[in-house]
Structures are given as structure tokens and as C-alpha cells.
Symmetry: C2
Subunit: 164 residues, 2 copies
DNA sequence: TCCAAATAGTTGAAAGTTAAAGTACTTCGT
DNA sequence: ACGAAGTACTTTAACTTTCAACTATTTGGA
């Protein structure tokens, strides 16, 4: 089935500029953020995983939940966990309540690793993003992207018929 | 050298919301756009490469230039070109002016392929992005991301000492 | 002119990602 | 309480991307 029913009239210059400025700047910004983390042997995606884990109670989360909130697939998380486990940053723990399941648990070493990276990362986010936005810009962006996000969720439900 | 000198004070709730809403929605949107193109055996990155090529005079561009404007690395472009060449969408042509160089040339088949995908893609961009923005939102976003982009370029120059 | 350095592009290997299938366990309906 | 279907997670294999090294050519001095 076609993913969209909107007729395909071309983008006008204003639309084009909004769209292209947005994706180009975003791609470059993400690249830069990733580059900034490279000094800590981390990618943005791995950072996200560790950050979420470090915020969890007991620095411990079910694999699925971690995958969900860090926005990576289960398969990818599995693979990355193997790498991070080898680095001594996390370990897996069996879940007694549901024996199919596992917890991802952050080790002290992992916590230190992300504690070390966090100031730089936050600095990058300011440096490359927030510092260039007025308070109003920040509020506008938050609103706009919140709208986009909920719309996306809506379309997802429509498309595959699943409600979660 | 540290990539940033900004002190690492934590993000306040407003900053946090702007940043997180932005990356989360962006990631999901990009995923969705990619998904929409999958029906045409294209990724967003490949689409971008072909779209740029189809816009070029003679549907023909030097590899480096194409890599630059489509925002992929030279190496990646080389590899993708091999795949697209096998699909019959592009071919390489020697450059007589600079015998180290090559042109990427879009074939008729390639042009047809992107012509087929374009309406859907434009539809997706409307559907998932533009339709949810007021005219003012579009203008604001264009301005903000333009600012971010030029800032990024500035930092890039600082960091590696290169001026291009 | 000659050579060192820079540039254009490709390549191969390593690392990362995804998609599909596999294992193990739980849930649900009867 | 049984079996089918569903869920949690992992694994394998195919594919993609990156990184560094390589070839070929051009450029820019001395």
C-alpha cells in the first residue's frame, strides 16, 4: 500500500528551504556530535544507551525497555551490548520474574565512562545547538517537533494496524 | 584538543525538551521517510545521490562534487555507485580534463527510477513534515537551521585548520 | 625540468547494521 | 493442564559504512 495519499505537487521555495536547511544542518550537527564523542570511544547511539541506563533505577533496565527508550532495535542493542560488555561497561543479568528476559546493568566502570563523556557531550549540545537558539526558538522547536512526533506515531499505527 | 570549551552545566527543562523533542522526532521522521522509499528499493541517502545527479546539467557530475552535495563520503559514494551501476541506474565516464577523475552519469533507466520515486518522496516530506508546519513555522525553521549550519561550518574550520 | 606534495578516486578489510530465523519461556484459551 | 500463539532476546548471514592504504594523475615549487 502506498505510504501517502498526498498529491505530489512540488515543493515551493519556502517549503524547500525549510526542508533542506533542516536536513542538511541536522545531518552535519549529528556528525559533529558524533565526532565530539569519538574521543571517548563512543558513538551518539552508544552514548544514548549508556545515558538511559545510567538514569534508570539501579542503573538497570530490561533489554527491551532500554532498546525502546534509547531508540535502537532489539537486535542492534544485543550486538552493542556484546561490545560494551567486552569493554566492561555493562553486564547482563537474568530476570527472575520472566526467565526469557534479561537486565542490562551498568557497571561502575561503565558509569565512570559515561560520567567522563557527559560534560563534553552536554557542552557539544550547547555549542552546536542550544547556544544558537533564543529561549523562544527553543520553545518553538520543542512545540514543533513534539507535533511532528505525535503525528508520526499516529501514522505508524495507521500503517501496520498495531496499537503499540 | 577538546572540541568544546563551554562549561558543562546541565540542561534545564526547557533546553532538554527542545533538544530531545528535536532528536527524537527527527530520528523517527528519517526512519519513516526511509521506509516510504523502501518500496522503490531506495534509501534516503541513495535517493539524495540520484536526485542531485538528476538535477545536474547533463545529469552528470564529478564524483567528488556529487559526494559533496549529496553529503556522503567519497568512499561511500564509490561503493554505492558500484551497486547502482549494477542496477543500471548510473555509469561512470572518464574525465578528459583531469584524468584522475570520473563523472557519474545518470542513465535513462536511473532517471526513470527516480522519477517514479519522487512523487512518493515529496508526498512523504509533506506528509511527515511540511503539512504540520505553519508558514511561519517553516520560515522560523529555515532561519534557525540556516544559523546552525553556518555555525557548524565555522566550527569545522576552527577545528581542523582547513578553510575548505 | 624534476620531484614532493596534493588531489581524485578506488579498494579491501574491519566494524556496524538489519532482517529473518532460532531458542527459550510465558500466556491464554479451552 | 495442554497446546498454540505470543514475547524476550540472541544469533546468523547479508549488506552497508568506515577507515586506511593504494593507484594514478596533477600541481607547485626550486
Amino acid at each position: 500500500m502506498a505510504p501517502t495519499k498526498t498529491e505530489a505537487r512540488w515543493l515551493n521555495p519556502r517549503e524547500m528551504k525549510a526542508w533542506r536547511n533542516y536536513i542538511i544542518a541536522s545531518r552535519r550537527m549529528l556528525e559533529a556530535l558524533d565526532g565530539d564523542l569519538a574521543d571517548y570511544e563512543l558513538t551518539l547511539a552508544d552514548y544514548e544507551v549508556l545515558a538511559q541506563l545510567s538514569d534508570a533505577p539501579g542503573r538497570k533496565l530490561r533489554m527491551s525497555e532500554l532498546a525502546e527508550i534509547a531508540m535502537v532495535s532489539k537486535s542492534r542493542l544485543s550486538h552493542r551490548m556484546k561490545v560494551m560488555e567486552a569493554a566492561g561497561w555493562v553486564r547482563r543479568e537474568e530476570c527472575p520474574e520472566d526467565r526469557r528476559g534479561y537486565f542490562a546493568v551498568m557497571t561502575d566502570k561503565g558509569f565512570k565512562a559515561i560520567e567522563r563523556a557527559a560534560p563534553t557531550h552536554v557542552g557539544s549540545v550547547r555549542n552546536r545547538f542550544l547556544d544558537h537558539l533564543s529561549v523562544k526558538d527553543q520553545e518553538d522547536l520543542a512545540k514543533i517537533f513534539d507535533r511532528l512526533q505525535s503525528q508520526l506515531r499516529g501514522q505508524f499505527i495507521e500503517e501496520d494496524g498495531t496499537s503499540k
